[in-house]
């Protein structure tokens, strides 16, 4: 299919006896911001590395922008940009020198490089720091510089491995603003993240667990797939509530979310009165029980709990 920018079929990778990625199929459409979501050790980085061509898969096929990346990795590399989880630029080179280097490595014409790096630095808020050593930048600025270097050759496909981990909220906002602009210009973005609020910003998501894709859908579609219904109980002491509610009949899962408790139940019409009675019996007063919209995290925890 021509409108698929990244396709993976039966992607598998083992590290000795540990199977890190098992038979993963992915299809990322052109112009998507596609998110790989999962806990640490789910296989996000391994998948990213295989897609970017730095780690050969044990089995499976990868197509980047129509190019078979396993058979012709160099052809695929011309079309993609990969930003590893760990800062991959030269800390002893300045911002401008790093951009120059990656521009030359991708043979970007001089005029285009200057124009593009100006735009990108502007968008990233890095213009005043052009002469600063990359190692002297803050975490957020480093990630934005990584993005600038990754974009200097106008790739068709952008692979970002946990690009905003350890990045302050303001830099994250800048970062996403750049990503949205890129999507407008037709770049396909595949990113991995452990942040659920970021997952909600993606056009589609793949939920990963133990090296397998557990669900792949739009954020809305994934939320609909949550088994049961979600209730939020707001109270002064949600920790105590959790102990009271856990294990009650009809309660499928309990998740502490700050000042509230998310309780997943099989049948809300029947369970809400039961829970009210339970809380009254335990002497909990002033607790509000209401139906809630599930977030990705609720769904994720629910789905994982179901598999376990």
């Amino acid at each position: 299919m021509n409108d698929i920018a990244i396709r993976a079929e039966g992607l598998t990778k083992n590290f000795g006896p540990v199977s890190a990625v098992r038979d993963v199929d992915l299809a990322v459409y052109r112009g998507e911001i596609f998110g790989l979501v999962g806990p640490d050790g789910a296989g996000k980085t391994t998948i990213m590395r295989m897609l970017s061509g730095v780690l050969p898969p044990d089995a499976g096929r990868i197509f980047v922008d129509g190019v078979d990346a396993v058979a012709d990795p160099e052809g695929a590399r011309l079309r993609l940009s990969y930003m590893p989880q760990r800062f991959g630029l030269y800390e002893d080179l300045t911002v401008a020198e790093n951009i120059f280097f990656y521009g030359e490595i991708f043979s970007v014409p001089r005029g285009e490089r200057i124009a593009r790096s100006g735009e990108l630095l502007e968008a990233a808020g890095l213009l005043p720091f052009r002469r600063r050593m990359a190692g002297q930048l803050s975490g957020g600025m480093k990630q934005k510089l990584g993005l600038v270097c990754a974009l200097i050759h106008t790739p068709r496909v952008l692979l970002l491995d946990e690009p905003t981990t350890g990045v302050d909220p303001v830099s994250r906002r800048d970062f996403w603003a750049i990503l949205y602009n890129l999507r407008e210009s037709g770049v396909t973005i595949l990113l991995s993240t452990a942040y659920m609020d970021e997952a909600e910003r993606c056009s589609r998501l793949a939920l990963l667990h133990n090296g397998e894709v557990r669900r792949c859908d739009t954020p809305a579609g994934i939320k609909k797939a949550m088994p049961g219904a979600l209730l939020a109980i707001i109270s002064a002491d949600p920790r105590r509530l959790r102990e009271a509610v856990s294990g009650q009949p009809g309660v499928l899962g309990v998740l502490l979310m700050g000042d509230r408790l998310h309780v997943r139940v099989d049948d809300p019409a029947r369970r809400i009165p039961e829970l009210r009675l339970l809380l009254a019996g335990r002497g909990v007063t002033g607790a509000v029980i209401q139906a809630a919209e599930p977030g990705i995290e609720d769904v994720f925890v629910a789905l994982l709990g179901e598999m376990a």
Binding site: R49, S52, G53, V54, L55, P56, P73, E74, R77, L78, L80, S81, Y82, M83, P84, R86, F87, G88, L89, Y90, E91, D92, L93, E97, F100, F101, Y102, E104, I105, F106, S107
Partner: protein, 378 residues
């Protein structure tokens, strides 16, 4: 191969070297330090061997013999003693390496019998020094004999030239003054370049792995050949600068005679630097930690270059097996070339054998190094 990417690699690497104190120290200070240490520390010349003299006669004739020992720079009298047992003490304490004993009836026996023994005792713990000192002693005695014969001839009214004598007139070529420095300094240059070159490049790839920059680099279209050529270019310039520094010091500071052709010297030196840098690069591509790579580079270059290159220990005196092993020590070819170019003024044609050895090495090392980097993480 894409020249732009190669230049980008070279420029980036040059910036990094310029900003890395450790690389700069290896590039600039290490050659200087080693030149001083090895240039002055390693000398095979044995002069002023401390001699203890027990002259029991102390006559004009016995003193003439002692004079023969000290008139050259070979021996210098550490002290004179007057008891036989003093020799034992002096040798035990290490005050002297040789002792000369002249008997009380030295001149009497000389005039009556026509021959008189003198005794020389050596501390043979250091065999090498003893052998040289023994040679010096025999030379001194031969000179004394010639002198005595001439005196006898004169006293008999015979022309000294009519007294039958065979004179050896030795003629030492290429290193006329027999200065071991002339022989050692070219070897020192080879040892320094082997070590510095391999140490420099041994860090270049492992640094990228350690700092996490390799993962991003290998996701780009840059090829292993471009990485190698780009990275080696600035190191080649440094290596050539270091070679120039060492060679100029050899000629103008250590006063080693230079009789060869500058072009020959530069061409062979360039070839050697390519080999040395390639070895370091190979190690670097295989060992992913900087420390490990640096240690291995030290091990594989320093020991063979000092022991098996003929730099101090003559290769043709070694057992056949060791000599065969030394064929694999690339430094030996450069040591041979440097000595020949410096002292004999040899041209490329005379040097075909070591040049062939070095060329085979260069081709093999670069061929391997160009393939050493695998653009994959596992």
């Amino acid at each position: 191969m894409n020249l732009r990417r190669t230049f980008a690699m070279a420029y980036k690497e040059a910036l990094q070297i310029w900003r890395d104190p450790r690389s700069l120290a290896i590039a600039l200070l290490m050659p200087l330090m080693q030149l001083v240490l090895l240039g002055y520390g390693v000398s095979l010349d044995i002069k002023h061997v401390p001699l203890c003299v027990f002259d029991q006669e102390n006559s004009q004739q016995s003193r003439a013999v002692v004079d023969r020992f000290v008139s050259s720079d070979w021996f210098s009298i550490s002290h004179t003693i007057n008891r036989q047992s003093g020799i034992g003490y002096a040798l035990d304490r290490g005050d002297c390496i040789a002792a000369l004993v002249i008997p009380a009836d030295f001149s009497r026996r000389l005039s009556t019998v026509g021959a008189a023994p003198v005794q020389a005792v050596f501390d043979a713990t250091d065999v090498n020094t003893t052998n040289v000192a023994l040679g010096y002693a025999q030379g001194a005695v031969a000179q004394a004999n010639a002198q005595i014969a001439a005196q006898w001839a004169a006293s008999q009214g015979v022309l000294p030239s009519l007294v039958g004598q065979v004179d050896l007139e030795p003629s030492t070529w290429f290193n006329e003054t027999l200065e071991s420095r002339n022989f050692i300094i070219p070897g020192v240059v080879a040892v320094i370049l082997s070590l510095v070159g391999a140490e420099l490049t041994s860090l270049t790839i492992s640094r990228e792995w350690e700092r996490g920059t390799m993962e991003q680099l290998i996701s780009t279209p840059v090829t292993p050949l471009e990485v190698m050529l780009g990275k080696l270019t600035p190191y080649f310039a440094i290596g050539f600068f270091d070679a120039g520094f060492c060679l100029v010091s050899a000629v103008y500071w250590f006063r080693v005679p230079f009789r060869g052709n500058i072009g020959t010297l530069l061409a062979t030196t360039a070839l050697f630097i390519v080999v040395v840098l390639g070895i370091g690069y190979l190690i670097s591509a295989r060992i992913r930690s900087q420390l490990g790579a640096s240690q291995i580079a030290l091990l594989v270059t320093m020991l063979p270059a000092t022991l098996l290159s003929g730099f101090t220990f003559p290769l043709d005196q070694m057992p056949a097996l060791v000599r065969a092993i030394s064929l694999a020590v690339y430094a030996r070819y450069y040591v041979t070339i440097l000595r020949s170019v410096f002292l004999k003024g040899s041209g490329l044609y005379d040097l075909w054998a070591p040049l062939l050895g070095l060329s085979i090495y260069a081709v093999a090392v670069i061929w391997l190094a160009a393939r050493a980097l695998h653009k994959r993480l596992d």
